[in-house]
Structures are given as C-alpha cells and as structure tokens.
C-alpha cells in the first residue's frame, strides 16, 4: 500500500491529539508515515509509532520554527517528490492550512481543506455554509493535499515500527521571507487546547467581567474541557484573544459545546456550529443561540453554571 504522509502537530515533540486522529484516519487510506518538523521533533517517534506510523520523518532544522509556513511546506514537497505518497494529511488549523496551501502550489496538486472524513478512494467530506451543506470532493491533480479537522476521527492505537528517518531539507530564499522574531506564549493554566478538546465551555458578554470567567473555568475543569470566549469577552479584555471562538477566532467542533452568556451572533456560530451537541445558557429566551442549541436553559448563568459544576462533580464522585 502506498504511503500516506501525516504532518504532526506537536509542541516540543509532544504530539497533539489531532496527530493521533490523522494517523488513525491514514491507516484506512494506506501506510501511515508521520512527518515531525521543528524543535523537539525526534522525541515524538515512539508515541506516533503507537498509533500506526511505520516511518517517522524528522527534521529539526532551525528554519522550521524561524519562518512562517514556507519551510515546512518545502520539507513536505521534498518528501512528496522522493516517496510518491498517495496523499498528504495535515491538521486543519491556521498553520496546517497555510502549509497545505503552499505545498499544493509547490507540487502542482489539488487541495481540500476542513475535511471531516476521507474515504479509501480519497474522497473528502467537507461541511460548508456552517454545516448546512455537506460536500464530497476529490482532488483531480497531483498528490491530494487534505487538511482534516480535529475531532473528526476517534484515535485508536495500532502499534507499528515507527522507524525514524532524518530528512535533510534545503530551503529557498522565499522560505526565509517571513521571519518569526518573537514567540510569545500566554499561559492558559494547563487546560486542553481549544482545537483538540472534546468539550468546550465558552463565556460571553453575559459573564460580565474577567472575574466572571472563574465559574466558567471551574465548570471547564470539572469536565476536563477547554475554555472559549466570544469576541465581546475577548475585546473587553476578560479573556485572552487566543481563546476566541468564531469567524476570526478558532473553529471548534467538539462533542459538547456549552455557551454561557453568549447571544449566538453569526460570527460566533461560524466557529462552533458543527459541534456535535450544543448546550446554551442565556437569560434572554429570544437569544439566537437557542436556535441551534440541542438543550437551552433560560436562566442566570451565575446561578446555573455553579449548580451545573456541583452536579457534575457529584456524579463524578
């Protein structure tokens, strides 16, 4: 079976959950090979082998973290030329999509983004227009480059050899054009990443103040969830911008999305309406968020959210 390359999303060599999901998906399409790029890459091999990576291509070249998107696309393009894989799968986050875009141009290939499934004949399923239409697409040129959303496949282990192969990459001047001069990490207290999390609890203007996010975080921690926020909340400085969910924030599709004090503006929906189950807490019975909630509670979040946290904690014993 032909190789299927999977670009691994990782932090200093610790793969994100989406990497295991993509390897699980790649096993249906061919023989998975993981591609790990950037600082710490070598450390990831064992964990990737556990999820089916027969080969783990590794490069820790400085350019990979020092410049936006171009260098990673160059390494992948070299691998596509050398290994003739059946397809390349990447995570459908901001960086994954940009690397995919550049890779598609470099290799003269077709590109599909935001897939939620890929069949063995490499047909990708994509929800569009906020999930109201589902499209089956195929790539008609080159090596299919497909970005896949987090939470699309349940990751399962399937041990493979995970043979590490160092890739020696060469980079062009264009790869070195956009230089990362500072990398600022803002702490979010050890909670799961929004893109990966299977549960997201979000707060909006109704939370009222930065301190108000305390009860949102407590609920999230009880559920092992990530914390999201509406633009009203991030603009007010109540919660960091990186936690914004929506059109210009993150797009999430967790198993469960809980929106507290969020009205459900179209730009917010754009980032969360493909969530499997949506629960909304809002004191306004007319709030548009109730139009898409599977369960809506009309009430004051300051009493409902703490009670919910307490009830869940009780169930968990």
């Amino acid at each position: 079976m032909a190789e299927v390359l999977v670009l691994v999303d990782h932090a200093e060599g610790t793969p994100k959950k989406v990497a295991y999901e993509l390897l699980t998906l790649a096993r249906e399409l061919g023989t998975p090979s993981a591609v790990v790029l950037g600082a710490g890459a070598s450390a990831a091999a064992d964990r990737l082998a556990a999820y089916g990576a027969e080969t783990v291509y590794v490069s820790e070249a400085e350019e990979l973290d020092g410049y936006l998107a171009g260098p990673k696309a160059s390494v992948l393009a070299q691998l596509v030329a050398d290994k003739s894989p059946a397809a390349v799968l990447l995570p459908s986050n901001a960086e994954g999509k940009e690397v995919a875009a550049r890779l598609a141009v470099k290799t003269g290939s077709g590109l599909i983004t935001d897939a939620v499934g890929v069949t063995p004949d490499l047909t990708a399923e994509q929800p569009i227009f906020g999930g109201s239409v589902v499209v089956q697409s195929r790539v008609a040129a080159g090596t299919p480059v497909i970005t896949v959303r987090a939470n699309s496949t349940a990751p399962t282990e399937a041990p493979a050899s995970g043979t590490v192969e160092q890739v020696s990459a060469t980079f062009s001047d264009a790869d070195r054009a956009a230089r990362v001069v500072d990398h600022v990490v803002e702490d979010k207290g050890g909670r799961p990443d929004l893109g990966d999390a299977s549960i997201v609890v979000s707060g909006g203007r109704g939370v009222g103040a930065a301190e108000g996010f305390g009860i949102i975080e407590q609920l999230a921690d009880t559920l092992g969830a990530a914390v999201g926020a509406s633009r009203a909340a991030t603009d007010a400085g109540w919660y960091p911008h990186q936690n914004q969910v929506g059109q210009t924030g993150r797009t999430v599709s967790p198993q469960l999305y809980i929106a507290a004090g969020i009205s459900g503006a179209i730009q917010h929906r754009a980032g969360m309406q493909t969530s499997k189950t949506i629960v909304a807490i809002n004191k306004d019975p007319e709030a548009p968020i109730f139009e898409l909630a599977d369960f809506g509670l009309v009430g004051d979040l300051f009493t409902v959210v703490p009670q919910l946290t307490e009830q869940i904690a009780k169930r968990k014993g």
Binding site: A94, E98, Q136, S137, L223, V279, F295, I312
Partner: protein, 268 residues
C-alpha cells in the same frame, strides 16, 4: 507606499447559501451579496497606513483588486467610497468556478502587473472559509507571507520597507517581520472600519476603475475555471438545518436539568 487591497464579494452570511445543482458551485446569482466583512478591515488598515505615510511627508496610494462577476463592481465602489484611490476588477466568464488555487494564480498574474509595497487581504472569506489566500500568493510570488495580523506596522526608507505584524497563535502570539513587497492578511481585532461618508460615496463614482479580462491580465484560460479545477466537487447534500432542541426555563434546578440532559446523551 503603494498598497493593494484584495476585496471579495460574498453572499450575505444571513442569506440562505446554496450550491447550484448543475455545476455544484456556489449559486452567486440568487443571493444578496456584500463585501466580505473582514475585507472592510483590510481596506481600513490600508487607509490608515496611507494616512500615516502621507502625514509624515511620504506618498501613498490604495488600489482595490477584486476578482469576480460583473456585479462585484458594487463592492468595489464601496471600497472606493471608504477612501481607496483606484480599483482593478478582474472579470471574465472563463474564471467562473475557479477554486482557491486557480484564483491565487489569476490574482498573482494581476499583481505582477501592478507596483506595490504591500498587499493586504482579510484573513478569511465568509463563503469559502479557507484562510489561505495570502499563503497561496506568497508561494506564487515568492514574497513574504504575513498572515493573521492583529497589528501591522510598516516603515519605508525610500523604496525599501519593513513590515512587522503580531500574529495570533494557538497559545499566544508571534511577532513576524519581513521586507517589502509583502503580503499581509488581517483579522478583525486590528481596527474599526470607517463608514463611507456622503462625500466619499460621490467621489467614488469618479475614481479610476480598470476592468481586465483574462487576456488583458495574461492569464492562461486553461489554468482557470471549473473544468480544470484541481479540486472537484463530486456530490453534495443539503442537511436539514440544525433544529432547535428543547428550551427549558430555570426553576432553580437549571444545573440539574442540564446534567440530566448530558447524562441521557452519555456526555457525562
């Protein structure tokens, strides 16, 4: 400083958007159309950079570049009425159904005929939601990609400039720097777009608008359009709109009610 702003006309997000049954492309004819919302922020940022440049004695211009059907002129006029100086409209029946890769090829061809220090785009179009145009154009032009900016600063020394952006990341932000000419995309955090003034709307009618066909722009007809698109829609299905579930009023046991629902769904 010469700035080109990429502006797209899109269906209104509140309108019902459909794919046409015959060719499975977005049905652009039957819906209300508007300027892609984030592109307004791109126009605003260009105008601010121009104002800053002229305030310090420099020269600057803002050119709108739009690819789209004839009616996209409405959107171009809006951008001109906000204060852009001139516009280029790439329109040709042969472009219909082009995917993102083909669109980036066509736009790159037009860009190669323009003189610019910066290209500014919105980070995402509300119809396709791919967020990759800046990356595609960077790959095609060999110019730097400064995407997802929540802040932009640009400084010119004669014809050589430096651009710096703050780019939102998943756990903070990156500061990214490049030399001009550079390609920037912006998110809505960056500014608050102005409304066109009455004077601006009147002036827009007289501003230069160049219309280009693919032949004018040196675009190879074999590389654009639905038939040769490198990604093809095989089929599609309309899903019933997400129907509202049950809505319950809090009677003092709201938290309990939610847990009962979650437990029934096996979510806790």
């Amino acid at each position: 400083m010469n700035i080109v702003v990429l502006v797209k006309q899109v269906p209104d997000t509140w309108a019902e958007r459909k794919l046409s049954d015959s060719d499975k492309t977005l049905d652009r004819a039957s819906v209300d159309v508007v300027m892609n919302e984030i592109d307004e922020y791109a126009v605003e940022e260009a105008l601010r950079l121009k104002e800053a440049a002229t305030a310090s004695g420099g020269e600057a211009s803002v050119t709108i570049l739009t690819m789209g059907p004839e009616r996209a002129v409405e959107t171009i006029r809006k951008a001109l009425s906000m204060g852009a100086d001139k516009a280029v409209h790439l329109t040709d029946p042969a472009l219909a159904g082009s995917d993102a890769l083909q669109t980036s090829y066509a736009l790159a061809q037009v860009l190669s005929t323009l003189e610019y220090d910066l290209v500014i785009a919105g980070s995402e179009a509300t119809d396709s939601r791919m967020s990759i145009m800046t990356a595609l154009l960077a790959e095609r032009t060999g110019q730097p990609q400064l995407s997802g900016a929540r802040k932009v600063t640009a400084s010119m020394e004669g014809t050589a400039g430096t651009v710096r952006i703050e780019r939102q990341t998943e756990n903070g932000y990156d500061v990214v720097e490049a030399s001009t000419p550079a390609l920037v995309s912006v998110v809505e955090k960056i500014n608050e777009p102005r409304y066109p003034s009455f004077k601006g709307i009147m002036a827009a009618k007289k501003k230069p608008l160049t219309t280009l066909s693919i032949a004018d722009a040196g675009i190879d007809a074999a590389q654009v359009g639905l038939a040769s698109a490198p990604s093809q829609v095989a089929s599609f299905a309309t899903k019933p709109p997400r129907s509202a579930g049950q809505v319950v009023k809090d009677e003092g046991d709201g938290g309990v009610k939610i847990v009962e629902f979650l437990a029934a769904q096996k979510l806790v």
